[in-house]
């Protein structure tokens, strides 16, 4: 079986260049001086070069046989007994989609950053981190084995931490960075344990060989016992939940908005947070061995989607709304993974990368124009003052809300369809409600920001301006992608059908045939979802344009629920109470009792005993030679006495 696939491996000599270009950009930015504009050219250029190489590689792949993949062995990393790991890269259909998203959207965000961060006194450091992130992310999606993926996985986590705390002068930014890092450690612990168990469990079937190559995993995963597969899958899910911000580890993502907005767009919306989705899609053979684990994945995704969407309803910080929206959309992707529609999850990763990057960059443009204001209650009426931002933001809102024909419409409806047709009626209901809420909170955000009257201070209002072209052009390109990006994944039998699904099928497998199509076809589901999305948008229109007093009345009448949502279900407070506080108490105890009193007490006590002994015996050291001479004499007498008496 292994040999049959050998013919499909096309050896490439250029794959290593894709991650290396951003690494070079990183090194240049590290060496560069903040004052001159070199990094503003080299950093985006490095990513553009990666994109060009990636695009050329992917195009060379499309002409090959179905299921072919590009492969480059760079370096034999570890050989230890039966264990072997290489630095090797691959581009198959799944990596191809991811690498194009990462480099393409990444390049646009780099260009945007030149405008957004160009005036920051530390912009060389910013671009250094950003390029280092690109390097790590490309290792993650290009790696041919789980170890290279893991190196990238940790690398993006590090860059995420560095960039969230980029403005480290403010304590809360630094704290948000630490929170992201620590919460991700919890997830990574599960991920690492999953990897160990996976490697170890595959060994018997592979004649004792220990390997983390994807080909190895794919070839032998079917030999896993169901219980083992369940444990491995759930451990990997813990890792994915950390990285992709699922319940209960999502808490770091909203706080991560402390970083500069392009970072939120690149890392915390378009690329890094989808690493968990990519990892599960990549290891779908393992997850498919355990229906239980898939059920857990689907349920977790649906619950996260609904949970985050409800919080997003009442948030007033423009970036917080988008952050919870991201958590919610990631929940959709995890739901798709859980119902076995792996290609659909990747499809949603792609469309989400387009419209969520667009929305974040649009929000950044608004914040830029509003002199740093992020509270939507102080915005309004920006439609005329920032026309490009407005129109592109509108496109992003329509795309995420699922307006027919736009990117989010096709990917989201495909998720709903697969959820329904695989028999998860309850999860489908949750997802549909979430989609409705999505339309509501996104239009609420749009109306509060761009319609009505400007509610800012006079000073801020006076300075409101459209962003420069270097920022608006990426917005326009992303808006175009948000419009047409969904057309690669049309439902079956429509025009050219699901091209992306067919492209990914050799890697992710074909989704299960619709067993539960029942009375409702895909078209009917689409109609339901679209109607509900329009209802959500209309409700937002009524609330925030027609009857602007209504939300206040409602929030007063339903203040219990309103305050619970506004306080994000008080999950942070709960974690504080059950984890952070006991942990701090334990640490303080270990510090003040075990360390200071026991360990230091023992060491200092030993030293004190020696000192006391010395104090006693120093009396013998009189400094008087005659006393010493007497001691000599005594010694001589004793020795002589010994010889005489003996």
């Amino acid at each position: 079986m292994h040999e049959a696939h050998e013919a499909l491996i096309l050896h490439s000599q250029v794959l290593w260049l894709i991650p290396v270009f951003p690494l070079l950009g990183f090194l240049i930015a590290v060496a560069a001086n903040n004052s001159h504009g070199l990094v503003k050219i080299t950093s985006p250029l490095a990513v553009l070069a990666s994109f060009a190489v990636a695009l050329a590689s992917v195009l060379s792949l499309t002409g090959a046989d179905e299921g072919a993949r590009l492969y480059q062995h760079v370096y034999t990393w570890i050989v230890a007994g039966p264990f072997r790991a290489d630095i090797a890269f691959r581009i198959d259909a799944l990596s191809a989609v991811m690498v194009l998203i990462v480099t393409g959207v990444g390049f646009l965000i780099h260009v945007y950053s030149v405008g957004y961060m160009g005036h920051d006194h530390d912009c060389a450091r910013f671009f250094a981190y950003l390029n280092l992130f690109m390097f790590s992310m490309l290792l993650l999606v290009l790696g041919d084995n789980l170890l290279v993926l893991f190196v990238g996985w940790e690398g993006v986590g590090l860059c995420s931490y560095l960039l969230i705390g980029f403005w480290y002068e403010k304590d809360e930014n630094a704290a948000a960075g630490k929170k992201a890092f620590i919460v991700n450690r919890v997830g990574d612990m599960g991920f690492v344990l999953g990897l160990f168990l996976l490697t170890w469990s595959l060994a018997p079937a592979a004649g004792g060989a220990l390997s983390l190559d994807f080909a190895h995993v794919e070839a032998h995963a079917h030999t896993l016992a169901p219980a083992t597969a369940t444990v491995i899958a759930l451990l990997l899910l813990v890792g994915a939940a950390g990285k992709s911000a699922q319940l209960p580890l999502y808490v770091w993502l909203p706080d991560a908005m402390a970083g500069p907005t392009p970072v939120s767009a690149l890392i915390h919306a378009a690329t890094m947070v989808t690493a968990g989705i990519y990892m599960i899609a990549r290891l779908h053979v393992v997850f498919e061995m355990s229906p239980t684990a898939l059920q857990v994945v689907a349920t977790l995704g649906a619950l996260t989607a609904l949970f985050a969407a409800t919080i997003a309803l009442v948030q007033t910080d423009i970036k917080k709304v988008l952050a919870y929206s991201t958590v919610s959309q990631l929940g959709f992707m995890v739901l798709a993974l859980g119902v076995g529609a792996f290609a659909t999850a990747i499809f949603h990763v792609m469309t989400h990368a387009f419209f969520k990057a667009l929305l974040f960059l649009g929000a950044g443009s608004v914040i830029h124009g509003m002199s740093g204001e992020q509270d939507v209650q102080k915005m309004g009426g920006l439609r005329t003052k920032m026309p490009v931002t407005f129109w592109t933001f509108l496109v992003g809102t329509l795309a995420i809300a699922g307006a027919p024909g736009l990117a989010g419409f096709f990917s989201k409806d495909e998720i709903l369809w697969h959820t329904w047709s695989s028999g998860h009626t309850v999860l489908w209901l949750i997802a549909t409600i979430t989609a409705t809420l999505t339309a509501f909170y996104m239009f609420r955000l749009l109306f509060l920001t761009f319609f009505g009257d400007l509610r800012a201070d006079h000073d801020v209002a006076h300075h409101v301006h459209e962003s420069p072209a270097v920022m608006t052009i990426p917005l326009v390109i992303l808006a175009a992608l948000s419009i047409v990006g969904g057309w690669v994944g049309l439902p079956e039998h429509w025009l050219w059908g699901n091209k992306l699904g067919e492209f990914l099928a050799p890697v992710t497998g074909h989704p299960h045939a619709a067993e539960h199509a029942g009375m409702l076809g895909e078209g009917a589901l689409m109609a339901i979802a679209t109607t509900l999305a329009i209802a959500g948008a209309t409700l937002a229109y009524v609330f925030y344009i027609r009857l602007p007093g209504l939300p206040m009345v409602l929030s007063w009448r339903l203040r219990g629920i309103y305050e619970l949502l506004r306080d994000k279900y008080r999950v942070d407070e709960l974690y504080d109470a059950i984890i952070v506080t006991p942990y701090v108490w334990l640490s303080t105890m270990l510090w003040k009792v075990v360390d200071v009193q026991l360990i230091d007490g023992f060491v200092n006590g030993l030293a004190g005993a020696v000192a006391a002994n010395g104090t006693l015996w120093r009396r013998a050291q009189t400094g008087n030679v005659q006393h010493y001479a007497l001691a000599f004499l005594g010694g001589v007498v004793l020795i002589l006495a010994y010889y005489v008496i003996r």
């Binding site: 120093r618 013998a620 050291q621 009189t622 400094g623 008087n624 030679v625 005659q626 004499l633």
Partner: protein, 101 residues
């Protein structure tokens, strides 16, 4: 007339004991120094007495070494005492106790 070796050894022991007592009880370091010389010479006397009684010259050779070294020791020792006296204006051993713990 020939003095018996035992008598010489006894004299040597008495001289040595006087030297030891001098080192231990006198306060003036010059006297202590002289007492040390006395101990050295008591030992020398032992060497020559035994050398004669055994009819061997080894003991006499050692005595020459001891005398040479004692001469050098006297020069260095007196120089140290003089230097110490210049700094401390005392030759009292009780007052020269800088190394008291």
């Amino acid at each position: 007339m020939i003095v018996p070796t035992e008598w010489v050894l006894m004299l040597s022991a008495v001289l040595f004991a006087i030297g030891v007592v001098g080192v231990l009880v006198r306060r003036n370091i010059i006297v202590i120094f002289m007492a040390i010389e006395l101990m050295l010479n008591a030992v020398n006397l032992t060497f020559v007495a035994l050398a004669r009684s055994r009819g061997a010259v080894d003991g006499q050779v050692v005595v020459f070494f001891v005398m040479t070294v004692a001469a050098a020791e006297a020069a260095v020792g007196l120089a140290i005492i003089i230097a110490s006296f210049r700094n401390r204006t005392t030759v009292n051993a009780d007052e020269l106790a800088l190394l008291r713990g």
